[in-house]
Symmetry: C2
Subunit: 199 residues, 2 copies
DNA sequence: TTCTCGTTACTAGCATTGCTAGCGAAACGG
DNA sequence: CCGTTTCGCTAGCAATGCTAGTAACGAGAA
């Protein structure tokens, strides 16, 4: 069985190579530059090899997105756990989220702006997805103040996502970003139901 | 000059026809089904005619998006002006925004999820864009409570946008949408700086 | 009326895309 | 050492956005 094992190992290695190459190419020149031919050339295999690993180009992007969710979760965790208190935690995790999206726009696109068939809001969702959500939830939860923490996390996540995508598309002026983000956080840090904390 | 006039009129009419056909085709089958060939067939002209009106496919999508912004502004206005008070106005305009995006996903994509070269956050932005923003601002402003109203409007718009796009992409469970939206509004209706209104 | 000329829309084609069929070689099992 | 099976490649398909070159139409002059 050792031969089969080696083959599977090599195969897995090659699959990883494809995913990495796709991500790097996308981050360097955008997804529209990621064609199956260029990708194949980059991994030094022929085009059809890609299709023995992935069903199609979309599947490759999905795989890249999955890696991205893991990265994002890790960065969010680092930002959150480095904060001294709950208020600072929300501020830092928000900044980390925005920074991730700004620093790796192509990756963020694969994760969020792509019609990708991953189970998201279900228990079957990949672990990296849950990890990312849990990080946000851990930062948002302390400010829930009676409201449903998960629901509030979803709303906050959506707000961050909207901020990032609109800014990236030029729909929001970049200059005011810091103030806008602070304002958004201020809206959430007092909880949705009245007895507010102070700023 | 009347002949030239007629020609220009016919030309404008045809341009409108192209835009409408593109929108309808996109709304019926999605943008990936909108190819220049199918579009040309639909307007009963040959392919190159499209390029005598628009620089390329992207320009056609931009034109569709512009129409969309006008539509959205109108619907937002209707929702806002029908509300009895400021709190209700924000609730209704939010619902209208979400409803628009849900009812016309392809149009919404052209407006927001496309790399389109329109000036957005500048005075040169098309009137329809300003109109839409102004509607939101008129609904959000009364709840600013000391904060910069434009900035708060931008943040709220971003939140709505994030909610809509994440839900559409399956990233947020659809079942909780109403509660999530209400929660988001609750976060904004007390203004970002303390002396909160009641729910 | 007839000729000329500019406009206009079409036919045909290019390069590139994602994807697949079919072959040839290499490697494994006996 | 041979038969079989796996595997990756060459070549090609249909469809894409876009463009070059051409034929036809209509307006104005002779």
């Amino acid at each position: 069985m050792s031969i089969q094992d080696r083959r599977e190992r090599e195969r897995a290695r090659r699959e990883k190579l494809i995913i990495t190459a796709a991500r790097e190419l996308a981050e360097a020149e955008g997804w529209e530059a990621v064609t199956t031919r260029r990708l194949a050339e980059r991994v030094e295999y022929s085009q059809p090899v890609l299709y023995s690993h992935f069903k199609g180009k979309d599947a490759i992007m999905t795989a890249v997105a999955l890696e991205g969710f893991a990265d994002l979760a890790a960065e969010l965790r680092a930002a959150r756990t480095a904060a001294p208190d709950a208020t600072e935690a929300l501020a830092r995790i928000s900044a980390a989220y925005v920074a991730f999206a700004e620093r790796r726009p192509a990756l963020y696109d694969a994760m969020f702006s792509q019609r990708v068939d991953l189970p998201f809001a279900t228990p079957e969702a990949p672990a990296a997805l849950h990890a990312g959500f849990d990080e946000l939830a851990a930062a948002v939860g302390p400010h829930a103040d009676g409201a449903d923490p998960d629901l509030l996390t979803e709303a906050f996540w959506a707000a961050l996502h909207g901020l990032v995508t609109l800014m990236r598309g030029g729909r929001l002026p970049r200059g005011q970003h810091e103030r806008r983000l602070a304002l958004l956080i201020a809206c959430f840090t007092r909880g949705p139901a009245g007895s507010g904390h102070s700023l």
